[in-house]
Every structure is written in structure tokens, then in C-alpha cells.
């Protein structure tokens, strides 16, 4: 129904739009269309920092039309993994793209000078960003752009921090202060393009073929989101509720996965944050849940009643990676670390992973003060971790340059590969639940726990005694169907609402008639198209090494055996044909 693609060349500042119904008709939108655009636009074998590397954004046919269809898919070649880079973000971006009238945006080239893009309806301009290029705060960058750009109250502002400018390989792109395109280094790709920010807004009115049917379906889905228990956990304590849960189950990676439980979990738990630090909750556009938990950190900076106050969003993964994984024992200290990464524009899960590996290296005397430039690393030492985060961004010596490339690269150079906790060159999510989590992150198209929810399959396996083959079948089912979710593009927290039938019915409201089986086939096709790109760029499941530590620390399902993982990978390859 909508298929307008905006192409922008940063080299010349020129832009044009093209109708790509050829892609949208076949692949719906979101991740399905973005994958095809990536295959078209990204030449084989290029460096991720080459001007030819495209940055692609896509929304889908239900974006802003139905509740919780609130995400944007981004795609690029990743400087972290050297293969497929994909990340999703919420905030206001999806709605801003919908009302600006762009279903996908493709950005190529490198700007001659530090620049930002200003996109308001049909007006697309490349503007000078010299004066904000080196700002030390992502938050301040947003404040400055708000003063000079139109679209107040309904625009979205993406921007990178110092980490992106300096091309730390896991730099993120901040979206509307509290959301991110994280993980696979799109911030560094922005930096390589001299692209500091993108502001986007629009005023379109969208009309649908059958308004009465649409209104009825909207009310049904809204009711399922708000009035049933499907999404309760995301609003109440939020994802941070998982700290105590996984700690009890021994699935919570702690101190570089030396442990799977944390003795001090209580004082950094979701309950602790909610009772002591939570200020308010906010939502992505068009989502009535409001899962974004904002904490207030009040810090005394000199004697007397002198305080500075920061508002910081938190989630489970952040508390794991900068909390349990670094042995931090107080919620307030976790917030200080989160805030520092946020202002630099660093992916927090990777930053935590790199710091945890470095701490163990230091413990074993495999790195020494000359490497760290005098910083001693100890579990729980917030002040030194803060300094180390600054140095990762500044990269003053060879060691910090290695840390800025991620755990896998740093370990290849300095050692400790057996405890360099990464899968497919990406630091792991906060789950040591069993083999499905490990296999899921290896095979997942973006090496994310959200590709197939392997952790959740481990949890089912623990109550239902699933065989290896049954676990693999469940991974594949999720891998295919989440391609459909991610093509619409609904928030995966709402996947309980957007099940097979609701997706079929919702699509019909916007004039897209697909059966359940057709959707599943599209999901599989998108999945295989991604593997086509991944394999073209050198990804090979057989070459992913699983660090020994995964098999030495007890998981929720007991000790994980290497044979189990190998066997499940073999089954996965056989059943998917990759």
C-alpha cells in the first residue's frame, strides 16, 4: 500500500524518491524490504567504513496504524561483525517516518564536512554540523537541534555521540534521548559518513480503504494490549524484573560469566530501581504500554545542598551488562555507568562485555598498568570503570584502540579468548539459560537474543523436558515468524498480541491479503535472503567459536555440553538449509 523510498547521497547532498512497490508487495516492509535494499545497495566485500556502505531505515505497512507497531528497522554492513548489521529502535521515529511519507530511507556516500540531515515532509536538506560534531553529550546535541529545527512535539531526532564520531565499533545511534539503534555499530558508520544527526518530521494524513473495519480492529488490538496480561510485565517493573528472576534460576551472567548468579542482585534489581530510583515511565509513539523506565539520579557534587540531577533510562540488559557483569552492587552506581555510556553514544551491552573481559585479564595479569595507562581494574570499582569508558572513546593507546573494536578483536590481540564472552563477534545478551540461548545467538541473523528468543526456549525446556530437536524446531519457528513481525514492524514486546491470526487480520485492514501460510513463507524467504547477505560477507556458522567459559559455568539448565550446542547447530543447518 505504501512503498515510497527516499534515496539520499551525502556526497552531493542530492536526493530523490522512488516507488518500490516491487519490494513492498513481496516483502511487506521493515526488515523484509531493508534486506533487499541492503543486497542491492551494499557492494560485496566492502569495508564497513567505506562511503559505499548504505544506511537503511524501514517502517512497515502497519506502522502507526495499529498500537505497538512502533519500531524502525535499520540495516547496514556492521563494523563489529563484518557482516549483516541490523538494529531496531522505537521512540518517535516510526511515526515521524510515516507522517513524512517515507517507508524506507537509503543513505549513501560520505559528506565532505560534518553534517546533519533535516527531513520535514518533502524538504530534505544536508546541513552543516561542524559546531556540534565534537560535543561530549548526546543529550545536549538533541537540545541544540531542537532549537533550530521545526516539527516540535512530533519530530524524531537521531544523533551520535563521541563514540560514533571516533568510530568505536559498537557506537550506537541515539533516538529521541531514550531509545537507540544499538549493538552492531551503526553509530560508527554514521561517524564514517560525517553524519552527526537526522531530524525527521511530517504532517501527512493517512487514509485507509475500509475505515469501519479498521476502527474495529484497532479497538480489538488496543484492548488486547491494554486490558489483558500479555504486556503487563513490561509496564510494571519493566524488563528489569528479570534481574531477580534470572538470578534465582542461575541464568544471570555475572562477572564475565564466571558466575550465573550475583550475590548482590537485590540492590540492583528491578524492584530496587522501581522503589528507589524510578521517576516516571514513557512510551514510544503509538504504544499505550509505556515500558521506558526513567530513573532519577541525584548526586551531591559539593558540600552543602548542591546536587546535580540526571534522568536515565534503564532496562534489564543495561543492569546486567554494567551491573552484574562488572560486580556493581548499587543501583545508583549502575546508573552512573549507564549515563556515561549514553552521553558518549556507546552500545551498553558491548561496553559492559569489553570491560568485564578486561577486568578478568587484569586479574590474571594478562594485561598490566602500562596497557590500561595506570588504571587498576577491580570488580565493583565504578570510578575506574567510568574512567575506562572515557578512554575507550578517546583511544589514547593500542590497548584502548583494541577495546574500541570489541571483545573478540581485543582478545585475538591480547589473549583470554576462552573467556572473551562473545558469539559471532558480538558481546552476549544477559542470559546464560542453556543451549538454546547460545545456539540462538549464534544463528540469529543479528546475533541478538531477540532474533529467536533462545533464552525463553531454554526456560520452556526446563519445564517441559524438550529434546535438542524440539528446541531447534522452536528456534526456527521464531526465526521465521519474527521476520514477519519485524517486517510490519511491531515491537517484539507486543509479539503476544501480534500472533499469526491478528497479523493476517490487521494486514487485511490496510488492503494486504495474505494467508497464514503465505506469511510464514515470506518470513522464511526473508530469513534466507539475510543469510545470502551474511554468507556473501563471509559469515559461516561452523567458524563461530564458542568460548570455553560457556561450558564451565552452570546455567539454568545445568552445565551446557559442547556436544549439545554442536548437535543443535548441525540440526539447525539441516532443517533451515543454510
Amino acid at each position: 500500500m505504501w512503498s515510497n523510498v527516499l534515496y539520499i547521497d551525502l556526497e552531493t547532498g542530492e536526493h530523490h524518491t522512488r516507488d518500490r512497490s516491487d519490494l513492498f508487495d513481496k516483502y511487506l516492509g521493515g526488515t523484509g524490504v531493508a534486506t533487499q535494499l541492503l543486497l542491492e545497495e551494499c557492494p560485496a566485500g566492502i569495508d564497513a567504513f567505506s562511503p559505499e556502505n548504505p544506511v537503511i531505515f524501514s517502517i512497515g505497512p502497519l506502522t502507526t496504524i495499529f498500537p505497538c507497531v512502533s519500531k524502525v528497522v535499520s540495516m547496514f554492513k556492521s563494523p563489529m561483525t563484518g557482516e549483516m548489521g541490523e538494529s531496531h529502535a522505537g521512540g518517535r521515529l516510526a511515526m515521524a517516518m510515516r507522517f513524512a511519507g517515507y517507508d524506507s530511507i537509503v543513505i549513501k556516500g560520505r559528506a565532505a564536512k560534518p553534517s546533519y540531515l533535516s527531513i520535514h515532509d518533502d524538504e530534505v536538506k544536508l546541513k552543516d554540523a561542524t559546531s556540534i560534531w565534537n560535543l561530549s553529550s548526546v543529550e545536549v546535541t538533541g537540545k541544540i537541534l531542537r532549537e533550530v529545527e521545526p516539527g516540535k512535539g512530533r519530530r524524531s531526532i537521531m544523533r551520535i555521540g563521541k563514540a560514533g564520531v571516533n568510530q568505536v565499533r559498537y557506537a550506537n545511534v541515539n533516538v529521541d534521548t531514550y531509545r537507540h539503534f544499538g549493538r552492531l555499530g551503526m553509530g560508527a558508520v554514521f561517524g564514517s559518513k560525517n553524519l552527526k544527526a537526522i531530524v525527521i518530521s511530517g504532517t501527512e494524513e493517512v487514509e485507509l480503504p475500509d475505515m469501519p473495519a479498521y476502527k474495529k480492529m484497532y479497538s480489538k488490538l488496543y484492548g488486547e494490549v491494554v486490558d489483558t496480561e500479555v504486556m503487563d510485565k513490561y509496564h510494571d517493573l519493566g524488563t528489569a524484573a528479570n534481574i531477580n528472576v534470572l538470578n534465582r534460576l542461575k541464568g544471570l551472567p555475572t562477572k564475565n560469566l564466571k558466575q550465573s548468579h550475583f550475590e548482590n542482585a537485590e540492590s540492583i534489581s528491578g524492584e530496587y530501581f522501581a522503589d528507589n530510583l524510578l521517576l516516571r515511565k514513557i512510551a514510544c509513539s503509538n504504544c499505550p504500554i509505556g515500558c521506558i523506565h526513567i530513573a532519577m539520579l541525584k548526586t551531591q557534587f559539593q558540600k552543602g545542598h548542591e546536587f546535580e540531577v540526571s534522568h536515565i533510562s534503564y532496562d534489564y540488559e543495561l543492569i546486567y551488562s554494567l551491573g552484574t557483569n562488572l560486580g556493581i552492587t548499587m543501583g545508583e552506581d549502575v546508573l552512573r555507568l549507564i549515563d556515561r555510556c549514553e552521553q558518549h553514544g556507546l552500545d551498553i551491552m558491548s561496553t559492559g562485555g569489553v570491560l568485564a573481559w578486561a577486568t578478568e585479564m587484569y586479574e590474571r595479569d594478562l594485561i598490566t598498568p602500562p596497557d590500561t595507562l595506570g588504571l587498576s581494574l577491580r570488580w565493583g570499582d565504578t570510578d575506574n570503570y567510568l574512567k575506562m569508558i572515557d578512554r575507550i572513546v578517546e583511544m589514547p593507546n593500542k590497548f584502548y584502540q583494541a577495546m574500541a573494536k570489541g571483545t573478540a578483536v581485543a582478545a585475538a590481540e591480547y589473549g583470554g579468548e576462552d573467556f572473551a564472552i562473545n558469539l559471532g563477534r558480538l558481546e552476549i545478551a544477559g542470559y546464560h539459560t542453556g543451549p538454546a540461548s547460545i545456539v540462538g545467538q549464534i544463528v540469529g541473523v543479528r546475533h541478538s537474543h531477540l532474533d529467536n528468543g533462545g533464552y525463553s526456549i531454554d526456560q520452556k525446556a526446563s519445564s517441559q523436558q524438550l529434546s535438542e530437536e524440539q528446541m531447534v524446531d522452536k528456534l526456527i519457528y521464531e526465526d521465521y515468524w519474527r521476520m514477519v513481525n519485524n517486517s510490519l514492524v511491531c515491537c517484539l514486546f507486543a509479539r503476544g498480541v501480534y500472533g499469526e491470526q491478528n497479523m493476517v487480520d490487521a494486514l487485511e485492514c490496510v488492503g494486504i491479503k495474505k494467508t497464514r501460510d503465505e506469511l510464514e513463507a515470506i518470513g522464511r524467504e526473508i530469513f534466507l535472503a539475510k543469510y545470502k547477505f551474511k554468507e556473501r560477507e563471509g559469515f559461516d556458522i561452523d567458524k563461530v567459536s564458542v568460548p570455553a567459559r560457556f561450558f564451565e559455568t552452570v546455567s539454568q539448565l545445568g552445565m551446557v555440553k559442547k556436544d549439545t550446542v554442536d548437535n543443535m547447530l548441525k540440526l539447525y543447518r539441516k532443517k533451515t538449509g543454510i
Binding site: T64, I65, P67, G91, R92, M95, R98, F99, E139, G142, K143, R146, K152, G153, R154, I157, D176, T177, Y178, T203, E204, E205, V206, E207, L208, M211, Y214, K215, Y218, Y222, V226, K281, I282, A283, C284, S285, N286, C287, P288, I289, G290, I294, H311
Partner: protein, 136 residues
């Protein structure tokens, strides 16, 4: 008894825009923000507070007084009723409204709250309420 929209608990707003989408969907048959009579917006980014701008249902509405063509007339229970045929888009009504609750759609027609209550129905956090008014 007529009803009116009340911003009962503004500090509970999560800035999800469900109310605005409900208003456009119901009253303008569109998916949009600019067709919505209620306007929820931040000023200074989502890290700042959230403002909710909606018709305050004045009994003696300044917007109607400012209207030179008679397109806006007082509504029973507060607020105004719009007769599109009489409106010439002069925008004097918008200037007369101190909370700035009147804005214009793409056809340059004022978007006027009818106090139908659909925004409150789709507010998941009890920010908005539809209340009965005493005035008849």
C-alpha cells in the same frame, strides 16, 4: 446532560499519542496527528515535561467572540461548534484561545474539539476524563 473533556491527571501522561490517533481516526477518518483536536506535545524533548493542549470548554468562548463570520458558536456545556461553510480560515479564533487549543488541518480548516470523549476512552493512564457538565 452535555459532557466535556477534562485533563484530570496530566502528570500521568506517557506521551504515547493514543488519544490523538483516536481523535483523528474517529472525527476525521484519518490516521494522523494534525487532524486531532487534542494535542499532546513535549517542549524540549521527551526528557522534559509533557503538555496536553485541548479545548477548555469555556462557557463564554473567546474563540467564538473573535470569529467574524459566525462559523464558531458557543456549545451547550462549553466550548464551540464549527460550521465549516461559514469559516474563511482567518485564524482569529486561534489567536483568541490562550491555551492555543485551535490549530488548522491540511485544508486550512480549524480542528475543533467536539468533546466526544474518544480520546479519554483510548487513554490507558487516566490522564483524560469525560465529565458531565452542570450547564444545560
Amino acid at each position: 446532560m452535555p459532557a466535556k473533556i477534562k485533563v484530570a491527571n496530566p502528570n500521568r501522561c506517557i506521551n504515547c499519542y493514543s488519544c490523538m490517533l483516536a481523535c483523528s481516526r474517529t472525527n476525521a477518518n484519518s490516521v494522523s496527528l494534525i487532524d486531532s483536536a487534542i494535542d499532546v506535545r513535549t517542549s524540549g524533548g521527551i526528557e522534559s515535561g509533557i503538555g496536553i493542549i485541548v479545548c477548555r470548554s469555556c462557557i463564554d468562548p473567546p474563540c467564538a467572540r473573535a470569529c467574524p463570520t459566525g462559523a464558531l458558536t458557543p456549545r451547550n456545556g462549553g466550548g464551540v461548534v464549527l460550521d465549516k461553510d461559514l469559516c474563511d480560515s482567518c485564524k482569529l479564533c486561534a489567536d483568541a484561545c490562550l491555551p492555543r487549543a485551535i490549530h488548522f488541518d491540511r485544508a486550512d480548516m480549524p480542528v475543533i474539539c467536539t468533546h466526544c470523549g474518544v480520546c479519554a476512552k483510548f487513554c490507558s493512564h487516566d490522564v483524560l476524563e469525560l465529565v458531565k457538565t452542570e450547564v444545560m
